[in-house]
Amino acid sequence: MRRVLIQGIGAVSPAGWGIAALRGAGSGERPLASQELSRPGWDRALRVRRVPQPNPRPGCLGDARLRRAPSIAQFVVASAIEALGDDREEVIAGRLRLGVVICTMCGCVTYSRRFYDEVLHQPTLASPMLFPETVFNAPGSHLAALLRSTGPNYTLVGDQGSFGVGLATAADWLCQEQVDGCLVVGAEELDWTMADAMRLFSERVVLSEGAGALYLRLDRSGCGGTSLTAVTSPQLYRRGVSREECIGRMRAELPAMAKGELLCDGLREAPRVDGAELRVWRDWTGARWSPRRHLGEGFVASAAWQSVLAVDAVSLGLHEAATVSLVGCNEQATGVRIQRL
């Protein structure tokens, strides 16, 4: 197996635009403040954590393709470009074959809801501008256009665990030399319909939005660096198999963690929905970050934040290695290991 390096990371989160903002909030002690999101038909608003307006606004968001694009596309582009760093120019110049894997659970839910609402009220007047942006792969398409990248471009749909599937897909493309570099982005955007649905499963979970991006390349020079050393097989929540069993199998597939390493888990402040993950990792007494506690539940975006923070911690030398526990809400659990090699 060839070594896959994580060359760059990027993030947009309720803490702000960029890695620095995420770094401060994701591993912190206190949850970020939440905001109210009105829900038609209710007096009481829903509590969420939104991405603040960027200040300054990233230059890439001024592109014509993003002028009418929904938030999720802006999150994807900003985080991906941050992760890509200097290689952006190489891609645009056609000197670097880039792959793109976007992972999401809900996709462009705001425009989908708005468009359907228009259809319900006056179908003939529903906006033709909204509809094309509702497709799951619209953010990946905008990103490719900005980077002039005509290479492989997948949008994968699934729960938080699908971010691990995205990383494995990217690693395969790299190892098969289909691409020279590959972006893996997890992203979501908020809408009241999502927060309304989440409340049916847990009143304590605060939804959030944003994106996290990892930029992968093969270690051609042999110099090493922060590396993606393992992605477990997905442990699917099949009928008759408990969630705890799935997470346990995921953990068993990962190399044993040593003292001094970091566990980046998916715990929120919701014991009922967190129970299985809590039990599987209860014996881990080392360093543990739970970014969803601080940032909120951003589905695949929060899986990406977990991974980005783990990479950041290893890259900064805070930990030799990190394990990311990507426990999905209704499909699968995957595990990721990141090491400094």
Binding site: L120, P132, N137, V157
Partner: protein
Amino acid sequence: MVTGAGVVTALGVGWARNLEGFRDGRVGLRPVTWLDVTGRRVSRAAEVDLPDVMPVTRLEAKQLKRMDRGARMLLLAAEEAWRQSGWEAQAELPLVLGTTGAGMTLGEAYYRQALEAPHRFRGQSIRATHYQAQRQAMDLLDAFGFNGPVTIISNACASGSNAIGHAWSLLRAGRAERALAGGYDGLAQVTFSGFDVLQALSPTSCRPFDARRDGLALGEGAAILALETASGARRRGAEILGVVAGYGMATDIHHLTQPHPEGTAALAAMAAACQAAGLGPADIDYVNAHGTGTVLNDSAEASAINRWAGARAGSLPVSSTKSSVGHLLGAAGAVEAVVCLMALREGFLPPTTTTEVIDPICQFPVVTQARGAALRAVLSNSFGFGGSNASLIFRSGL
């Protein structure tokens, strides 16, 4: 190797009915009954008649009850492919699905209830979970007793081809011995209205590559292929329906919905599929085009085929079977893969029956009437919003 195939379209449920329909050049379009299309520009689509009784699988009655239209079509197609393959329950079996809408009708129902009865929650949690694509995938795992991994690709109208191509890549890389792959999409208000307001739907009839073409027709359906390595299939003496020989993908960055006028990404996808298959245009005996019937798609695709095929274009039969079953969005590539397998196996060219005046941009013969032909290798194109372009090449399994 393809050792099982299942298909559901407006022409019917199952390989046999669809084979008969495609060979006869039947058109499955009719007035829409399943959706309220009052006030729309267009009110026809290729609707599927779902059977009253679903096939017996390991699913419990409540799981079946919770499925929406698209999920039922998916289950029907998967059951046929599974039965044909002769596979039994097994632990590791990758499932790769393509879809654009998943259980969208459940999402629509969720929204309507949330607005109309904001304090009534009955059924909402089921709708919230079952509209998601992963639910349909998990139901397939439960239905047939296998354990994934699951990959769900949503690359708009190329999703079905991407799913088959991705599964083929997994087998080729030695990641698995077998995989189940395909696509599905049921008609829903969002998609029907979306294409209607874009004025992409034909108010007359869907006529791919016709000089007077005026839009596409929507359809619904599903198709699933059981894929396995040549050694695995031969070892158990499985019947071979055909061979996936190549897969290519490329991204068109011209515009979110409009292809590059010269079909540059389409050309790149076809070339990449050929390279993967070790074949050239001269080796391809038939192209099942994306051929939606829109002005822009067909001219871009024709331009791409002309350039890709070169001198071969003049004698290369091309057709679009969307004239018969409509555009199946996330299922289109998978259904058209099954059409290609039918053509290879049964030795015929599936027609574009509605086309009358062929657009002079087509330097290739457009097949407007079914006819017998000995085919060795065929190519299928699928293109989607966002510039997703995918091509698959199939060879005869004989």
